[in-house]
């Protein structure tokens, strides 16, 4: 009845690009299975998906060759308007795939285009609303929905066309942990109920791994590196240390890095439970010592206050976005501001920069009221990176973009600084390019560079991981950690719990414009009711160590990956 998708020798080069995005790709997506498509960024994952639904070569120009066999025919080159009845695609950003104004209209849009009659439309509409679980949103306006709800509508709209193959391109990249979990549940439901073929590109592997039947990996050159059953593929990737930019389930790579003996693919743990079982065995065999039980070293207490927020409040049209609150940012902090959507997190950043002058109270930057400072004076001290870096660009050349931040400097000094920062942020090849044509990771790096080049000591980031792929996020965060070590104070608005656990020394939880919590991440993740109120989850490492402590007496509760590795190594090395 249904057919696998067989890709034969597929190559594609975008018009104007020197090297191919896909090169002699041979790959099979098995029918009725969920296939996870992995690959480093720039490996052509999105390009491949566009070839599957016909956007390439019909709407995107370039050189194409090869074959894609599905349903008894070579579908390569068939137009999207025909293919979308066979293969439906859901993209990262639901906003960009909407064509109408309300949920109902959006779902029937494709059906209308297929010229279906009223009764059929009504039937399919009711069917997908129920399947996706959004019956109550039927006549809601799209603009009033949350990110998670929007993505569900996008999925429903694709399901309404009743394609046999459903392709999901990082469907949760823009969603908070709770909404992501709901989307993954939906994928599970689709799998359990229907024999659809699903292809999913997703970096939050850990929460989805239990439903994955098959894994395909592309390499940097845009060819197939590996494909097969999940454990087999992960085992190969673990053994092959050269391939470091493909992301594996956290548990698999953790266990591997800790040096547990794994000699066959079947032994690779991929779920939390499997990880617990394996580590438990190993830990119980050792006694553990005082070394691993001792508390983490205390942070030094000599803190200077860089930014002091004193009794600040902010209203928009009588609505209190920020209720009177006080908070100080200390020199050297890597501070996260977390909390549910609409809590006032971004507003607080804007208040710090005096972009939104506080309606009450004071913001002091090294003791001076920001309201009395000029925009340029504030800019010399701190930078703010917006969610969409493009909005900050002023010129059409990367070089000029950096030069703009150095208006007051001498020419020679300026040139030297720009050269240094271009190299530091990996942009030296692009100095003459337009910033608008950079890749998303490069754009983000450029805006960070332009925010630091004038010697700023404080960097504020508004959801820097939003809409970015995982690899870029990790690179960006590693860079933030390095900058922080060099003395740059960092404040980041986020709901990424792994970011908070692994990088931040302090976290402030905001809800309804009030501070619910201000302390170290370790303490936050131990407070279940607070986490629930703030729509946050526990990092997987934390869950892992809590589970281990139940059976392995005295094993410490760990929050960050580094902490866990130290604790584990300390524990087992003792016996030797």
């Amino acid at each position: 009845m249904t057919d696998s998708i067989v890709i034969k020798d597929l190559s594609f080069t975008y018009a104007g690009e020197p090297s191919p995005a896909l090169s002699h790709l041979n790959l099979t997506f098995p029918a009725n299975k969920i296939t996870l498509l992995l690959g480093p960024s720039g490996s052509g994952k999105s390009t491949l998906l566009w070839c599957l639904n016909g956007l390439i070569p019909n709407s995107v120009e370039g050189q194409i060759s090869g074959e894609i066999w599905y349903d008894g025919e070579n579908i390569l080159g068939r137009p999207p308007k025909v293919l979308c009845q066979k293969l439906g695609v859901v993209y990262q950003d639901p906003e960009s795939q909407f064509c109408t104004f309300t949920v109902e209209d959006e779902i029937v849009f494709g059906l209308e285009n297929l010229n279906l009659d009223m009764a059929t439309m009504e039937e399919r509409l009711n069917y997908v609303l129920k399947l996706v679980g959004i019956e109550d949103l039927r006549s809601a306006k799209l603009s009033n929905l949350s990110g998670g709800q929007k993505q569900k509508v996008a999925i429903a709209s694709v399901l309404a066309l009743d394609p046999q193959v459903i392709i999901l391109d990082e469907p949760t990249a823009n969603l908070d942990p709770r909404s992501s979990a709901e989307i993954f549940d939906l994928v599970r439901r689709i799998k359990a109920k229907y024999g659809k073929t699903v292809i999913i590109v997703e970096h939050k592997l850990d929460y989805l791994i239990d439903v994955i039947d098959y894994v395909a990996v592309l390499n940097k050159e845009g060819s197939a590196l590996l494909s097969g059953l999940p454990r087999q593929v992960f085992y190969q990737l673990l053994k092959d240390t050269r391939e470091t930019s493909v992301f594996l389930p956290l548990i698999s790579s953790l266990v591997w890095e800790l040096g547990l003996p794994i000699s066959r693919a079947e032994e690779v743990p991929i779920t939390l439970e499997e990880g617990v079982a394996l580590l438990e065995q190993k830990l119980k065999a050792s006694v553990g010592s005082e070394v691993s039980k001792r508390e983490e070293k205390q942070e030094d207490l000599t803190q200077t206050k860089l930014i002091e927020i004193v009794d600040v409040a902010y209203q928009v049209e009588d609505k209190e976005i920020i209720k009177p609150l006080s908070l100080s940012v200390n020199r050297g902090d890597f501070l996260a501001i977390a909390g549910p959507n609409g809590a006032g997190k971004s507003t607080l950043l804007n208040i710090m920069m005096n972009l939104f002058p506080a309606h009450q109270g004071q913001v002091l930057l090294e003791g001076r009221d920001v309201k009395k400072l000029k925009a340029r004076q504030i800019f010399q001290k701190m930078g703010l990176v917006f969610q969409n870096p493009e909005l900050q660009y002023i010129s059409n050349k990367v070089y000029d973009e950096l030069a703009f931040s150095l208006k007051d400097k001498e020419i020679t000094e300026k040139e030297a600084l720009i050269k240094k920062y271009l190299t530091l942020f990996g942009l030296e090849k692009y100095a003459e390019n337009s910033p608008f044509l950079l890749s998303q990771g490069q754009k983000r790096r450029l805006s960070v560079a332009s925010m630091l080049i004038a010697g700023q000591e404080i960097l504020l980031l508004d959801e820097p991981t939003y809409g970015q792929d995982h690899e870029h996020n990790v690179k960006l965060l590693e860079m933030m950690a390095r900058l922080n070590a060099q003395g740059v104070t960092i404040v980041v608005v986020t709901h990424d719990v792994d970011l908070i656990a692994n990088y931040c020394n302090r976290v402030v939880v905001l809800k309804d414009g009030q501070i619910l919590f201000d302390g170290v991440p370790k303490e936050l993740f131990g407070n279940e009711s607070l986490l629930a109120r703030a729509n946050l989850f526990k990092p997987m490492i934390r869950e892992l160590s809590e589970k281990l402590q139940k059976t392995v007496n005295h094993f410490p509760i760990c929050t960050s990956e580094a902490e866990f590795k130290r604790a584990y190594r300390g524990w087992v090395s003792d016996v030797l």
């Binding site: 308007k81 795939q97 104004f101 285009n113 010229n115 066309l161 972009l355 900050q392 002023i394």
Partner: protein, 268 residues
């Protein structure tokens, strides 16, 4: 923008948008025929009352919406009087300006015509859901659906446009650009805004086109509609009412001897 849903769904909201356009055209033609202020004046007052009643709009609120345009119409009449006062001789005099009766009547008629047209346009905007209007153009007036949906796609971007401008302003302030007030500073800032605005607009347009392609848009020459915008009994009643009212009005004004219809040829 101006349109707001009304939960009680008054008759004016329910009239088919294409029919509303037709009614506006009919009324505009009729007032253009009138050469004296009496017909536009009576129509202005009666239409104001009708819109308030059938659209369940409070007269005060409607006046508030119209206020800026009324000022505009008055300004227009003022300049018209000024121009006419300069060149002609006449019986009425103010300082160095002279008018005859003709001048005053023409200016007043023109001002009233403008007001009627403004009133009709605002009534349309206040009571017509933009998406329904486009759908009605496609379904009732056979505008090609590709054109209609392209318009809708553009309309979808309008609300985000202001947000985006504000974000760009903030983003640039972050980079140390002082926000100066005044028209000249505003004009100087345009090139700075243009680049990010164009970049995002082009990307948006591209994505919207891809999104529609990916949902079978244009797969068939015909497409069906889940929401049918029909022409109903109410629409014919409205058409009949407007035609009947205008006929009765014109005939009775004529009978009273206070109306001369013209085709605009006997200006002097």
């Amino acid at each position: 923008m101006y349109y707001k849903e009304n939960p009680s769904n008054p008759p004016l909201y329910r009239i088919n948008p294409s029919m509303k356009v037709l009614l506006i055209i009919i009324l505009t033609v009729i007032i253009s025929l009138a050469y004296e202020p009496i017909l536009p004046l009576v129509l202005l007052i009666s239409l104001f009352a009708a819109v308030c009643y059938f659209g369940r709009i409070s007269p005060a609120a409607f006046l508030k919406v119209l206020a800026p345009f009324i000022t505009l119409a008055l300004g227009f009449v003022f300049f018209m009087l000024l121009a006419r006062g300069l060149d002609s001789s006449g019986t009425y005099q103010l300082w160095f300006l002279k008018w005859d009766g003709e001048d005053l009547i023409i200016s007043l008629t023109l001002g009233l015509r403008i007001l009627v047209i403004i009133l009709l346009s605002m009534a349309f905007i206040l009571t017509t859901q933009p998406v329904e209007f486009i759908l009605s153009l496609i379904q009732n007036l056979k505008v090609p659906y590709a054109v209609g949906y392209a318009t809708l796609a553009a309309y979808r971007f309008l609300p985000t446009f202001n947000d985006e401008l504000e974000k760009i302003r903030l983003a640039q302030q972050v980079r140390g650009i002082e926000q100066e007030k005044g028209i000249i500073a505003g004009i100087k800032a345009i090139p700075r805004y243009l680049l990010p605005i164009l970049a995002t607009a082009v990307r948006r347009g591209e994505r919207a086109a891809l999104a529609m392609d990916g949902r079978a848009f244009g797969a068939f020459p015909k497409r069906s509609y889940y929401k049918e915008i029909k022409i109903q009994k109410l629409d014919f009643i409205a058409l009949f009412a407007v035609l009947a009212y205008c006929t009765v009005l014109i005939l009775s004004l004529k009978a009273l001897g206070i109306l001369n219809l013209s085709l605009g040829l006997n200006l002097n």
